[in-house]
Amino acid sequence: MAEFWLQFLLTIDATLRVATPLILCAMAGIFSERSGIIDISLEGKMLMSAFAAASVAAVTGQPWLALLVAIGVSVFLSLIHGFACITHRGNQVVSGLAINILASGLTVTLGIAFFAQGGQTPFLKGDQRFSPITLPFADAIRDIPFLGPIYAEVISGHNIIVWIALLAVVVTSLVMMRTRFGLRLRAVGEKPEAVDTAGISVVLMRYQAVIIAGVLCGIAGAYLSIAHGAGFVREMTAGKGYIALAAMIFGNWRPLQALYACLMFGFLDAVAARVQGLELPLIGEVSSDLILALPYVLTVIFLAGFIGRATPPAAIGAPYVKER
């Protein structure tokens, strides 16, 4: 029993690690989409900033500087997205897709030019990355039955970005629901004409929203390459940006629900890694490939209205044209 309990806790621990980039990107998506700008470029922004973070960390050895540069790069991509979608009223899906494809080409191209290691960055060690933080007394109380392992395995031993991600949910929730800025942001995504009539710039609000999204994606990218991982490998986001998008939709564009969706999708991922080839009664051999497809299947079912009701922002995807 104790062995099973430990395994379970380790799975929960892994869930948090896997869910961290999802949570950050889902919050990014919420900011952007609640303001009316579709953002399928979470993936590309995360990939590009993962590369930037790993490059800077490898050259300077400063993880905090790497994080900053990662955020800068991601925000730059956000601004391109904004320039195309807000200023030039281009198609938001096309723009997002362009950024994703650009990022997968550019990371490998620059990676080879900078480091000549087939698109990877040098392996990072020690102080070059964010290491796990062992909370006080973790080892001392590990042996206390039941609660000890929870503290030692699940709560302690995460790097700082895991905590930033959880904090981001709280902040997103407060900003969205409890501040004037949040109210305006949501209004811009529901009925931009009304916001415009009130004398608030729709364009400015939307730019602010995509910039915040850029910051959050930048942190997520840095997490992948200099906190969770130890360097950049090509295509290292591996669809996580799209899973985050799915989680955001599954959470109905709301921060807390999106957090739960991210944790659920992260849990599926963590379980899938542990059950490959396991024989279960009645079901037969478990396939981790199919478990990994579950987030997408669930999102499709949710969107189709079979569980709950999806309510996207009313003005999403529609460029705002000011009346003359």
Binding site: S95, D289, V300, L303
Partner: protein, 369 residues
């Protein structure tokens, strides 16, 4: 977006300006890396058209892009955005694979090939029709659903190819080879039979099928009742309802046609070259279809030219691997991203500038007419 520019500028000059912008930015990035962009361009052009067999390879890639580009374009005419080309092509390939693996011991090769063509289209159509249905009847947005369907298709492929369908005693996730003769003729083989020597290349009969499909799409969209209704639905769903059509039905049909075209891309890769089912044979060509459709302005003729450009980019990009230490074919992905950005998302950026310039030269009265 209304424009006072004559047609030749709108469909000729502006798209060229957009591509030019994409290439200039690419050139700047190449220069930053420390290589000469013009040398790189030269290598790509030679790699795409001049070397032995190069043109065959270029047209081989072109074939993929014609299929996926047409798929995106057909959906665009009904203002549907199908980014599920990847998944639909995978399913097309899966259909071909299952059909051939099940029957190649008993059914003659020629008959099997004739069956494989509609099967690839039907499987792709099914994988496109479901998101279409979900949009039409359940209100879930086709963009998100098709993204999700790409991942679901990819998981199914991994599951099958690393499991049930994987050849015994094999480590790579692929099936056994199809029986001898189950494959589309290659051009160098056909030319050889006629006594003409042509360099070996993977170019096969799918190219002809793709051209026929392009003609078929032109007929469908501009010369049939269904095509008219598709375009009408795209312009205004309400108008289509008033005219007595069901937009829901049209959405499902359009997505099915779109998916079917994407599914046929598998003919080129699976039945034309691989002669077995492999993982990831779509290699992002479904997404490239979006760039192709945008550049080709959703017209089959434009799509063929855009496909040729991308075919040359892909084949020329492969050549970069050999010639340069620091530039690889991923450079092509970057250029592709920039092209989608400039000729898709920023498509109107140059309009005001060109308009001003045009009116200064021609005079406002004539331009406004």
């Amino acid at each position: 977006m209304s424009t006072t520019l004559p047609r030749w500028i709108d469909i000729g000059v502006l798209p060229l300006l957009n591509i030019l912008a994409a290439f200039i930015v690419s050139g700047i990035i190449i220069a930053i890396i420390g290589e000469n962009p013009f040398t790189a361009l030269g290598v790509m052009l030679k790699g795409a058209f001049v070397y032995k067999g190069a043109l065959g390879y270029t047209l081989f890639y072109t074939t993929n892009f014609i299929f996926t580009g047409l798929a995106v374009a057909v959906a665009f005419h009904a203002t549907l955005f199908n980014i599920g080309g990847e998944g639909q092509a995978m399913m097309g390939g899966l259909g071909i694979g299952l059909l051939v693996l099940a029957l190649d011991a008993v059914v003659p090769a020629f008959l099997l090939i004739m069956l494989a063509i509609p099967v690839s289209a039907l499987m792709g159509a099914a994988w496109g029709a479901v998101p279409g249905y979900l949009q039409a009847k359940r209100g879930s947005h086709v963009v998100i659903t098709t993204i999700m369907f790409n991942f679901i298709a990819s998981s199914i492929m991994v599951w099958l190819l690393a499991g049930t369908l994987m050849e015994q005693g094999q480590m790579a996730p692929e099936t056994r080879d199809f029986a001898e003769g189950v494959g589309l003729f290659k051009f160098h083989e056909i030319a050889g039979m006629m006594g003409i020597k042509v360099a070996r290349s993977p170019l096969n009969l799918s190219f002809v099928i793709a051209l026929i499909a392009a003609f078929g799409v032109w007929v469908l969209i501009w010369r049939t009742r269904l095509g008219y209704v598709i375009r009408a639905t795209g312009h205004s769903e309400k108008a289509a309802v008033y005219a007595g059509h069901s937009p829901q039905r049209i959405i499902i049909i359009t997505m099915a046609i779109s998916g079917g075209l994407a599914g046929m891309m598998a003919l080129n890769e699976i039945l034309g070259v691989q002669h077995k089912l492999i993982l990831d044979f779509t290699s992002g060509f479904g997404f490239t279809g979006i760039a192709v459709a945008l550049m080709g302005r959703n017209h089959p003729v434009g799509i063929i030219f855009a496909s040729l450009l991308f075919g040359a980019l892909y084949q020329g990009g492969a050549e970069l691997d050999f010639e340069f230490q620091t530039i690889t074919r991923e450079m092509v992905l970057m250029i592709q991203g920039l092209i989608i950005l400039f000729s898709g998302a920023l498509v109107y950026m140059f309009n005001p500038m060109v308009e001003r310039l045009y009116h200064r030269i021609v005079g406002p009265e004539k331009g406004a007419a």
